[in-house]
């Protein structure tokens, strides 16, 4: 057997065989798919065609993978500006599913899938699950939220495609999560890592011993988490904890996943071409250097993405992975090149909070976002400096205002924040500009 198929413990699975291809075979596939995709979007998506014309690049200029650097970047605001369907490359009668996630301001961003796209998603999810040693016979409790968020359904259909058993419990109601986990002999759990910490703490309170349960694997994503948190989870629940990476704009969960080496996330490069660029100069960086992760979807039909800037900061591993997979690995995401933060698995931009406050008051008051974590659960407090216009001598009016802020924020980001009205000038300013987000969470 070829050394490329060297296996450090996980079973060889035909569906994930592409993960072990010799690099030159993989690169042939990538180039072929890239050329087709670029031609397709140039012909079908006016937005990309215009951008490419502006950059004076034609589909036929893409002769090698390196030529990708001539293609224009796509950013999140492009999705907002083309809301809702402006970036679709397939006619609506081929689109079988829409998801949406919160955008940078009021409007969400929309992503679309054809039947083939769903198949690709299932394929990468199966490869993700296989990389974590999940197989038929496993009982998977999927505590990611079901709905417009890609996490729930992405995992769900991946588990079904693999042939394991999925419990579509969705998020929330921790006591019921623990009951099901115990009663159904669950072996795999999927949720945000902070939520699983909450489950551990609640189980301890209830006197339920997770360590002796059949639970053996956790697949955690949708927010950054540290090695320390992994060690805590693995020790307290006696499981193996794996990091899954994804973003709706590219496909959802399953863009990359850790293998049993738990040292970096393999990117499913045959579908998502990764680059790491300098976020300032936008030039591609040599392998191993830290920069912003950029993806080009190679096979997506409904909504291809060209050089989408994720804003996630990471770097490539240069060394081959002992698991034998030849697809490249990135380091765990440590930070971002923008001001986005993640709370309870939901991406939030300060600009969204600003929009919410603006809707209530007609102007943006001075505010600060304080993030804390209590028993594994993220808490968000928005401190708002009271202005003369907001102030009333009546408590009822002030409480009404407070509630309006809470509701306005909830309408935009779907999360209930605590709103605290504070005195003017009580939020510290640095260089005239306030620090918008104070993150006190231990991650």
């Amino acid at each position: 057997m070829s050394s490329f198929w060297h296996d450090a413990g996980s079973k060889f699975n035909p569906i994930s065989s592409i993960d072990y291809l010799p690099r030159n075979f993989l690169e042939d596939i990538q180039l072929h798919r890239l050329q087709n995709m670029v031609k397709r979007v140039y012909d079908n998506v006016p937005f990309y065609r215009q951008r490419m014309d502006e950059n004076k690049v034609k589909p036929e200029h893409i002769q090698s993978l390196k030529d990708i650097k001539y293609l224009p970047f796509t950013v999140k605001t492009d999705l907002r500006d083309t809301y809702p369907f402006g970036l679709f490359a397939s006619p609506m009668n081929e689109v079988v599913r829409l998801h949406a996630s919160s955008g940078t301001t009021g409007k969400p961003i929309v992503v679309a899938y054809t039947k083939e796209d769903i198949d690709v998603w299932c394929n990468v999810m199966v490869r993700s699950l296989s990389a974590c040693n999940v197989d038929r016979g496993d009982i998977v409790q999927n505590a990611y939220g079901y709905g417009l968020f890609t996490g729930g359904l992405g995992l769900h259909y991946g588990v079904e495609t693999l042939g394991a058993t999925v419990i579509p419990i969705s998020g929330g109601n921790t006591d019921r999560q623990i009951m099901i986990l115990k009663d159904f002999n669950v072996t795999v759990i999927c949720c945000t890592p902070s939520y699983f910490v909450h489950i551990i703490e609640r189980a301890n309170e209830l006197g339920i011993d997770l360590k002796s349960s059949p639970l053996r694997v956790g697949i955690f994503g949708a927010e950054p988490w540290s090695e320390a948190m992994r060690q805590y989870i693995e020790r307290e629940a006696n499981i193996k904890a794996f990091d899954i990476y994804g973003l709706s704009e590219i496909i959802g969960p399953g863009v990359g996943n850790e293998c049993i080496c738990q040292n970096g996330l393999h990117i499913f490069e045959d579908h998502f071409y990764p680059e790491i660029i300098d976020p300032e100069t936008l030039e591609p960086l040599p392998d191993g250097e830290e920069g912003e992760l950029v993806f080009t979807t190679l096979s997506k039909k409904a909504m291809p993405m060209i050089r989408y800037r994720t804003r996630d900061i990471t770097s490539f591993y240069n060394e081959p992975c002992p698991c034998g997979r030849t697809i490249r690995k990135i380091r765990k995401i440590s930070r971002r090149s923008d001001d986005m933060f993640i709370i309870r698995g939901v991406n939030v931009f300060p600009s969204q909070i600003e929009t919410a406050l603006l809707t209530v008051e007609g102007s943006t008051p001075h505010y600060q976002i304080k993030l804390t974590r209590e028993h594994g659960l993220d808490q968000m407090e928005i401190q708002i400096e009271v202005t003369k216009e907001m102030f009333s001598d009546r408590i009822s009016e002030m409480e009404k205002l407070q509630n309006k802020f809470v509701q306005s924020i909830e309408r935009i980001i779907n999360i209930r924040a605590n709103v605290r009205l504070v005195e003017p000038h009580s939020i510290p300013r640095s260089e005239g500009k306030a620090k918008r987000v104070v993150d006190l969470r231990k991650i």
């Binding site: 009271v386 003369k388 102030f391 408590i395 009822s396 002030m398 009205l421 005195e423 003017p424």
Partner: protein, 146 residues
Amino acid sequence: MKIQQISMFLENKPGRISEPCKILAANNINILTLSLADTQQFGILRLIIQDWQKAKEVLEREGFIVNITEVVATEVEDKPGGLAKILEIIEKEGLNIEYMYAFTFRSGDKAVIVFRFDQPDLAIKALQSKGINVLDSVQLYDKANQ
């Protein structure tokens, strides 16, 4: 007939209430009476001050949020049933009291009730027609300084 009340926003945390009092003292401004309404997070301090313009100016200079609210001050006999009589009139007229507070002068047998009404003008008319003494600011501070 209405009295100007200073209303201030304060955070509910130790030391906050003494701050405006210190500022007023430093500027030699006397507080006739005050009332504090609070929630877990914040409070609203209401002050009756003769020189309310100056008080507003110095408090705002120190960065406080200050509003001027028009309230109605009525005199009431400082004995059982005194307040009940006034409230009955207000109730019968179907007027809404946002909040109220009371204080007494150093001398005399009268107390003063300060009302914040939705419709102060209607309230004044109703109270006066039933013989209740509604104090204007001149009367109020005259009595206070006696």
